[in-house]
Symmetry: C2
Subunit: 352 residues, 2 copies
Amino acid sequence: MTDRQHDTHASQRRPQRTYTVAVVGATGVVGGTVLRVLEERAFPVGELRLLASERSAGTTLEYAGEGVGVQGLHADAFAGVDLAFFAAGGSVSERFVPHAVAAGAVVIDKSSFYRQDPAVPLVVPEVNPEALATHQGIIATPNCSTIQMVVALKPIYDAAGIKRVVVSTYQAVSGAGKRGVDALAHQTAQAVAGDAVRDEFFPHRIAFNLLPHIDSFLPSGATKEEQKMVDETQKIFADPRIKVSATCVRVPVYGAHSEALNVETERKVTADEARALLAAFPGIAVIDDPQLLRYPMPIDAEGRDPVFVGRIREDNTVANGLNLWVVADNLRKGAALNAVQIAEELVRRQLL
Amino acid sequence: MTDRQHDTHASQRRPQRTYTVAVVGATGVVGGTVLRVLEERAFPVGELRLLASERSAGTTLEYAGEGVGVQGLHADAFAGVDLAFFAAGGSVSERFVPHAVAAGAVVIDKSSFYRQDPAVPLVVPEVNPEALATHQGIIATPNCSTIQMVVALKPIYDAAGIKRVVVSTYQAVSGAGKRGVDALAHQTAQAVAGDAVRDEFFPHRIAFNLLPHIDSFLPSGATKEEQKMVDETQKIFADPRIKVSATCVRVPVYGAHSEALNVETERKVTADEARALLAAFPGIAVIDDPQLLRYPMPIDAEGRDPVFVGRIREDNTVANGLNLWVVADNLRKGAALNAVQIAEELVRRQLL
């Protein structure tokens, strides 16, 4: 008997409950990735309701081999919905999440709107699944740059405690959505053709350039993106003593964010110990064999699920220092996959 | 009387001494930039001797509006040379620098070969010009990634002392020479055309990708590029107590390296104080007005002389923390300009 036959047999014995699932922002890059991840992981979707702006309503998207029409997003679009993924902007979440909750749906929100709300769990399933227990209808999923960092930090945090992290990011244009991807493609094609490169979408040219600027600037001089890495990390670990200093930079890469982490632990962790802790942790793939030129790179991480960690080195400039290089697909683990994993965890814990 | 007439008059009264200058590696990207910088700054070149491999001998390069033939590099090519810029690799410096010195030339070497030799000053003129006084015929110019960092650190070091620096780099392909530039151009054109992208020169694809790998790996797990940032910084400041932890990353940018620095000073420096110290320092241009979307970027730094510093922020996760974003043209201040500034300083101090 193969595993597959066994699974089929088991599901015949105990019919699995299915859920009416809404995806808000279904036509965007994160929404589209939510659909792909739900399919791949065979999430028990009964009815699928695709919601987007009136502009996109009427188009058809494919799910599990069938066409599903996109409907306009309205306050009354959530009747009968068990689970709603919000993958549009913060203003859409602000306006429509309350309607989804009022209709009885559990919302998994990708936007930043609810993340710092004390009543809303902010969850990375490998890190703090226990936070789901207290949800009141809304669960927030963190910013992409935070998710891959906290996954890489978690096994080290559990083993040795973490005092301080200095992180520099190298973030892909897909983190800015379809228009970010288009801007890099258009500008690169203009440059290759020898034409003048027109600024588009980003505040400055992104082709063959770097922008030390993601999201808007705060009075402190930090960007919101940088402040999110501080606030969200502390909330996810439920530990306000973890100190994070972040510099967030947009790079001309399509998919997958990279991060250079300098970590100061409470007690000493050798590079070998860190490597073993990371390799044993769910959701992490260690690629760390520099003599064979093996280390994580965004082109290898794009389209894949793990958080890839390499360049694992002790940093002897502090008592207990570690350097890590962390790469993950920002649309998958950084967004859609994390949201679907939250849904799976809600099912597993009977919280849906 | 215009300034120019005045200058002409002055030079008629006191004829300036000129120097026989050799440029080894004249056909490479750094050698070519040395020629441009010598021209721009009107270095008192008498005879100019361009030297390169036999393969390049016979070609003609332009200098100050005239064609100069490139000669093959031989042990006896340095007769009568006052000043020799070495802008070829370490093996060329190892083999030919002793011949240049024996012929009476003062050598300014861009390669890494002599940098850690205790008898060889390693000089950034804004930082440690006094080290030139003891030269014995060879002065080394540091690695590109080190130069722009130590220029940015110097005014802060002088004012407040520096205990530790965590640096993540974003390094342009021109740092790997003409073949690095060609690889990015070819691979990007292949990707834009929808063709398969062929690996070329770099260990992995560089177009739309990042490589956390510059120069070769050491047994410690660090790259030589990362170790250079540690060793060279300590030698330039003549202070082995400065701790540096570096992660060096190649990015798909043509010209100008960028660096995210997290600096821990001995005494507190506010962001405003740091901004004032940096703005007053020769060779630094502060671009730090994020509300107007002004911050240093590689496309703006390429072809320009200053070390650009922005995103100046206090980091309150340590007692005396500062974050800086530092961008400079790696072929100019990172290589050719620094070498020519060393030559100017030798002239000024009558050490040539």
